[in-house]
Symmetry: C2
Subunit: 432 residues, 2 copies
């Protein structure tokens, strides 16, 4: 099926930046963009779709989260991170059934799809349920079975999580025309032991996997690692071979100059999670320095429990302003840089070279922003509108691989009423 | 007319905090709340309105902005403040006609009303046009004719801005059943001279006015004042008698401990503008310290040129998380405190003792949040939902003095198509 989107503004790729096309056309052949231009294409299309008053932009890529934690939204606000994690989150999560996790993930999909996310990276248990959900929803997902280990005596052969992770990789990586990818994952340095991490990292490298980790989120975690091992978490992972596979590292708030050099050497992609880092009092990640060093910085929401939403527009807005405030330099973060973090850098991080920008030959992973909203008027600079002015709710259409998943408030692949009802039932059971 | 809102959740006042009523009733007699409770009221109502899946909260009060600058949205992003202000903003503003300003203000009203603002404080020229617009829209507004003076030789008698300001106060203060209030305003220390400020402040006090100022927004401005006058801007205003009238001061990023003591002594209300202060690289206002001292901290968006929207939900979200990040203390800012900043503290700042919270006897200035949105599910803690999870676009209804101004995407008092068309025409003329 060939579809022509017409009469819309487009933020098309232009090298590493963007060019603004007005009253333009975007053609799609199956799942792939085959035309972008301000004049009508010569080729015939099976269907034409009027997109007047819409701005087409690349789909947003949420590179770090824990989707099922939507069920924990609003629980234990305002506690220190370790207390919040170990005394509130984990005891409730221990009561989560696979069914809860599937429902929590489905709720997250509703939220992400309706706010413009076309691909996401998740770190959570029972990823098989997330695979099912993503296939039904049509969204792209880099999923994993995260490795944690709290028993120092456990051997790698006894580490069932590694076996499950590898099995999941073998079973599901590349499913749904590549929309589903399975990554390896080590929750964090402080929730694991060197012999497990080393062996699991070697398996990841041998199998050609991609690694998802938490890195130096809090000062406590960073300092305790230095005290325990005489090295930073980044050096710890580096020495254990983790970074020998393509790796993405969430948070990176407390990484040192030397850590960033290691990350640069190994091509580790940092994931910036501005809301979570502020809300939990973790601090400000040195994102401007990372960008200066040429690291592939992407963007994520973290889980809804520490955000408390999965709204990439909000993360873009924060990433665009907070570093200016922190360094007192309003010229620091540029809208194009921020949109790159939310799109093409995320695609690179996920190993998806065929998406992340609007250009001919790329997958049709597209969002449409409703330019009729008062706060998007006048439209003098659409990049600034996307970065500073827009809300998640301004997304009027979300398309993945040429398929519309959401349009004008309606979900076309998910039963939102059923999911919302199920999520409330889970919360009622968990908290009452 | 007596109206009963039914079947809704309500964030009702409970002392300085909130209590959460479920499946509850809120009765309105004319413009005033006459019932709040979980059981059906005894009294009869002329009309009942089903508000299922809605959370009623107090209307948001945007305490500092420059509404007409919506027309400058996205212009000159990423410049240092003084350059942005003097080389970009002011030259364009010089070309603004009264008609542009009226259109820019109307555009701002659309945006504010649709994101839950029921009352706002503005500092801009041609406030007479904002008076007209506010009366038509039904919103509450504290407007002013701001005083700037760039000619040191000018006497107070020659200062036509002071005359216009006082005339506007005499003509319009208290109009529209008190919805329109006229305040006095001094743009800032660095845009005025002591003899003008002293005389104008004396007139404000004599006439029982209320004063709106910018205070220590940038380090440059703060330091230059100390270098020029040997005192901080707060001390400068204090010594010139400005603080002898009820005063509200935008930004307050660089106020010192002594400045905060002066503000406390005189009851000056700081207005926190988190997005603007971060975007422009101004820095982080010491809001937690102000709250600790018992200052009446309110919240504002600043103009759309430096934000780039007028979305109080976003300011709440930022105010709730950024100080945690800056101080590395996640327990610092509480949701109830943040909602107070956006509501009852703003009412106090504006001199409106009859609004700012949902309680019997207060004006029916109410917003309804749409709880069917995926990112507001589950509803375990509605205060946390309002502060951390909600978007401006989740506002399903905005009511002022018992009159619905906006509901489910429709403006009931303003012609949004006409205003958006006019705003685009203004922008086309100004920039092309």
């Amino acid at each position: 099926m060939k579809l022509l989107l017409k009469n819309c503004d487009i933020l098309a790729a232009d090298g590493d930046g963007y060019r603004w096309l007005k009253n333009a056309y975007l053609g799609i052949d199956g799942s792939v963009i085959d035309y972008i231009g301000e004049s009508r294409p010569q080729a015939d299309y099976d269907r034409e779709k009027d997109m007047s008053s819409r701005l087409l932009a690349p789909g947003l890529i949420n590179c770090h989260g824990h989707t099922a934690m939507t069920l924990l939204r609003g629980i234990g606000s305002d506690l220190p991170l370790q207390e919040w994690l170990f005394e509130k989150m984990m005891p409730i999560e221990d009561r989560f059934t696979a069914q809860d996790i599937q429902v929590g993930n489905a709720l997250a999909l509703l939220e992400m799809i309706s706010t413009g996310t076309t691909s996401y990276s998740d770190m959570y248990f029972h990823a098989d349920t997330a695979v099912e959900n993503a296939m039904a929803a049509g969204i792209k997902a880099n999923l994993c079975r995260p490795n944690q280990c709290f028993n120092q005596g456990e051997t790698y052969a006894q580490n069932t999580r590694a076996r499950e992770s590898i099995q999941l990789f073998k079973d599901c990586n590349g499913m749904a025309d590549g929309r589903i990818r399975i990554d390896f994952a080590i929750h964090a340095e402080y929730t694991n032991f060197p012999h497990i991490v080393e062996a699991y990292s070697a398996d990841c490298k041998a199998l050609g996997g991609r690694m998802h980790i938490h890195l130096s989120e809090t000062k406590k975690e960073h300092d305790e690692c230095v005290a325990k091992y005489g090295k930073t978490p980044a050096r710890w992972f580096y020495d254990l071979g983790t970074f020998d596979s393509p790796t993405y590292a969430a948070h990176c708030v407390w990484v040192t100059e030397e850590d960033m050099a290691l990350m640069k050497e190994k091509g580790v992609s940092p994931v910036h999670n501005p809301t979570s880092n502020m809300k939990l009092g973790s601090g400000f990640a040195p994102i401007p320095r990372m960008l200066e060093l040429g690291l592939n910085v992407a963007l994520g929401t973290d889980g809804a429990a520490s955000n408390n939403n999965l709204n990439m527009m909000e993360e873009m807005h924060l990433a665009a302003v907070l570093h200016n405030g922190f360094t007192q330099d309003p010229t620091l973060m540029k809208p194009a840089q921020v949109l790159n973090m939310a799109t093409r850098n995320g695609a690179r991080l996920q190993g998806r070279s065929d998406t992340g920008s609007l250009e001919v030959g790329k997958k049709a992973d597209i969002i449409a922003i409703d330019l009729t909203r008062p706060h998007l008027c006048p439209n003098i600079d659409p990049l600034a509108l996307m970065t500073y002015s827009a809300q998640g709710g301004d997304v009027a259409m979300t398309m993945v691989d040429g398929r519309i998943l959401y349009e004008n408030g309606e979900f076309l692949t998910l039963d939102s009423d059923r999911i919302l009802h199920a999520a409330k039932a889970c919360a009622d059971r968990l908290y009452h």
